[in-house]
Symmetry: C2
Subunit: 214 residues, 2 copies
Amino acid sequence: MRPKITAVPSIRRLPSYLHIIRQAREDNQEYISGTVIAQELDLEPIQVRKDLAITGIVGKPKKGYPVVALMAAIEHFLGWDEVQQAILVGAGNLGTALAGYQEFQYHGLHIAAAFDQDKSKIGTTIRGVPVLALATLAEYVKNLQACIAILTVPSSEAQSVTDELVAAGICAIWNFTNVKLKVPDHVTVQREDLTSGYAMLCLQMNAYKNCDEC
Amino acid sequence: MRPKITAVPSIRRLPSYLHIIRQAREDNQEYISGTVIAQELDLEPIQVRKDLAITGIVGKPKKGYPVVALMAAIEHFLGWDEVQQAILVGAGNLGTALAGYQEFQYHGLHIAAAFDQDKSKIGTTIRGVPVLALATLAEYVKNLQACIAILTVPSSEAQSVTDELVAAGICAIWNFTNVKLKVPDHVTVQREDLTSGYAMLCLQMNAYKNCDEC
């Protein structure tokens, strides 16, 4: 039985907190107030305090949160204080975009290699990441001790590639396809559904009725 | 003052419900039970009932939800029963991936054109979507009556392009950059932060301690 993750919305917000807190550190601020964070993210201050409490850190009255300690606490809570070796499977447009996604470097996510079955791509690099043959995946994963695979193959290939990933010892799959993957219980799957964000955009747009142009 | 959207996690889950309900319709099922939906998505049945209640539809005891009516209710709630004309700004890898993202076609999102300032891209198509010069954006938006812009430019250009979009009459921006955009109050911005999903993946992976390979 997999443990259930609670406080999902809070966890999903932690990376945006980290983004703001990192900027505060770059500005050499020693403390940052929950109210400032709340304003930046259009949240209620009470929500920010609740969210940050799950990382075990508490603000000081009138001063706020110690910037360095807060960053460290969030990163440790998420496991982002250690480098995670990952592979990218599917070197298409989305894979290439993710290989070049700058935010990942802040979060300890290192994309070591990309895999594809398109011979014209094998041997090239995407945003500096080497593209290797899908057939060499098992050997590579074993040597790298990679645990995470980012899946950006066409949906029609998603399950068969997943079976190969699981056989190779991958234990976490970040699934960008629209397929519900069948995996053994020890493998974590996080499905990234871009239409969720689109749903939010539409609702917010419809909620704001004063837009004459729409 | 913008209205606050409540029930954000529920709204974010609606597209995945829609995905499952659409499959049920393709299988010619007349009803689908909340329990089946819950199993498919690893949710509690009570959560599914609560989420679907916000669309105004209620299941029948022992039968479940009427498939056709439930799809229509979700789509209407999200405003996905009408076609939304959108433009893509930034015809790079992420833009190209989004132009080809199949799920959008189910949700009434029509990407009419892409804009870029790279002369080598202007006049070409990405996944069938024509790439036009950024300088022609204002005129195009006016004629198309497009309301939504999907922003996939480099972060360094995000604010200046946003200013052009707002001046052209765009009222909703789906922001894939990591910049907090400054916009007038009538413009909706939904920021898509891919690191949120990565945070969830990491926490789930760490919560499952029995994985010897990691």
